[in-house]
């Protein structure tokens, strides 16, 4: 088990390798389809994303009477939808980590290598376990996209993920697909 603590940096994530089980402590910014499209269209992000981690997640959130937000469910959403945009966001805004599920493609993998970023896979469907790791909601941006699509700034502690694409050009998704293909040939 490895730990990745805030503040994050390209150097720190370059230390990580495919297959590493990592507990992240620090800040995460959620961002999914609307946010990626917005950035791709040339709009500046409302927060500085340099050396930050983006989480592909549309959280279920509740506001209490005092106006304080809590996150009640926060599992990852499918990342591949952001494949056309992710490399640009890595390049232009200097994010050093992407959390999601299902993995991403070659463009993202190349950008990870070039700029120092890794793809972390969270356990899909583990909405409750992951929500428990969120200690506070520190900000809400682009609320006009609707709450699940907005950018939520979250503080997390020991947020459990697995590195499935590292900053050295390796992808666990590619490896597992290739090895299972070999086995598939023998059983078909």
């Amino acid at each position: 088990m490895k730990k990745l603590n805030y503040p994050f940096s390209p150097e720190a994530v370059r230390e990580l390798k495919v297959g590493d089980m990592v507990l992240i402590t620090g800040k995460l910014f959620t961002g999914r389809d609307a946010v990626h499209k917005y950035l791709h269209d040339g709009n500046k992000p409302p927060v500085n994303l340099k050396n930050q981690i983006i989480y592909h997640c549309g959280p279920v959130t509740l506001k209490d009477k005092k106006g304080k937000w809590t996150v009640t469910a926060a599992g990852p959403t499918t990342s591949i939808r952001e494949e056309p945009y992710q490399w640009e966001v890595i390049k232009d805004y200097g994010i050093v980590g992407v959390i999601g599920k299902g993995g991403m493609g070659q463009k993202t993998l190349d950008a990870c290598k070039e700029y120092g970023c890794v793809y972390f896979h969270a356990v899909g469907g583990a909405a409750q376990v992951l929500a428990e790791k969120i200690k506070s909601v520190d900000g809400l941006y682009l609320e006009e996209f609707g709450l699940p699509e907005a950018i939520w700034e979250l503080s997390v502690e020991d947020f459990p993920v697995v590195v499935t694409m590292d900053a050295h050009g390796n992808s666990l998704h590619k490896d597992v697909e290739a090895s299972s293909k070999e086995i598939l040939k023998t059983v078909l």
Partner: protein, 320 residues
């Protein structure tokens, strides 16, 4: 009539006592709605026993300290936590599908209305996410009601009992579900059980970890495109530890699970021993010109439950 509900074991003790204290009488309609909301709550927050046992056995089987072991550990914790907090297992609470088995002379239309009311209430209470989107306008009414939603199927049966089964079918796993048309030259899959075996394994390979595996399959051999997909999904209502009454299919079911678990795709596609939890297969007649095989993939967050209602529409028995 006194309001009486048998709470699923999973319910928090505190909630049970709260229910017992209430003595206000409910109309048959209100009682039905209340029972349906409870069915939705339990389905969304607790995996059925047969599924839990299969997941627990699979978790034990993974090699310690691997990514597969890590993922299975998180899955198990999530199952415990969701039950304890009475919160949805996964934030995608899926397509809401009801299967109602009723006696002759039963009135379907008012029951449909009660189901819609229960779905609206369960959404308000947070057991279901606001998950239903108009396919043309993109609008989400926030109620989980709309064209075709919830999906409701009625079946007449002998006897006086009404039972209701519910499945919440996630989107990620629906996206990796598949339909093949045999023969499939690419896979050298012909129009026989060997061909069927090949396409099922191919579907699991293609899914990789994207359907939030380890998954469970419902399969239908034959039928037209629509019925085939419908019967395949309905196979997910079978308990994971049951036996197929057709010997050949029973054998094929076991063989598929065994073979798919050799693929090494593992939980979440991280690699590992458990790729598939179960496979359930049925068949339907086809016309000579077509031969479809439909595969419905269910994620580890396998949400299905069922209840038998008593004559006052309170929950008499849980089915899973």
């Amino acid at each position: 009539m006194a309001k009486k509900i048998i709470k699923k074991k999973a319910a928090l003790p505190k909630k049970t006592s709260k229910v017992k204290k209430t003595v206000k009488k409910l109309s048959l309609k209100d009682q039905t709605i209340e029972s349906l909301v409870e069915l939705i709550r339990v389905t969304s927050t607790v995996v059925p026993d047969d599924v839990f046992k299969t997941i627990a056995a699979a978790a034990k089987n993974e090699v310690k300290d691997t990514t597969a072991d890590y993922a299975m550990g998180i899955i198990k914790n999530n199952i415990d936590l969701a039950k304890f907090k009475s919160q949805p297992l996964c934030q995608d609470t899926g397509t809401v599908i009801f299967y109602i088995y009723h006696p002759p002379g039963f009135h379907q239309t008012p029951f449909k209305e009660m189901i819609k009311k229960a779905v609206t209430l369960a959404t308000k209470k947070g057991y279901l996410r606001q998950n239903s989107v108009n396919s043309l306008t993109g609008e989400n009414a926030g109620t989980n009601l709309g064209e075709g939603h919830p999906s409701i199927h009625f079946y007449e049966q002998k006897g006086q009992e009404v039972s209701v089964k519910l499945m919440l079918k996630g989107g990620g796993c629906e996206n990796v579900s598949a339909q093949y048309s045999l023969p499939d030259t690419g896979l050298s899959a012909g129009r026989d059980l060997e061909g069927v075996r090949k396409v099922i394994i191919d579907a699991v390979y293609k899914a990789q970890g994207k359907g939030c595996g380890p998954g469970a399959l419902g399969v239908c051999v034959g039928g037209d495109r629509a019925d085939s997909a419908y019967f395949a999904k309905k196979q997910l209502l079978r308990k994971l530890d049951d036996k197929n009454s057709n010997k050949d299919l029973d054998k094929l079911e076991k063989e598929i699970v065994e073979t798919c678990n050799k693929l090494g795709i593992g939980p979440m596609g991280f690699g590992g021993k458990t790729t598939l939890l179960s496979c359930k297969i049925t068949h339907a007649n086809r016309v000579p010109a077509s031969f479809f095989v439909s595969i419905s993939y269910m994620c580890w967050a396998f949400r299905r439950q069922g209840v038998v209602l008593n004559k006052n529409s309170a929950i008499k028995k849980w089915l899973y």
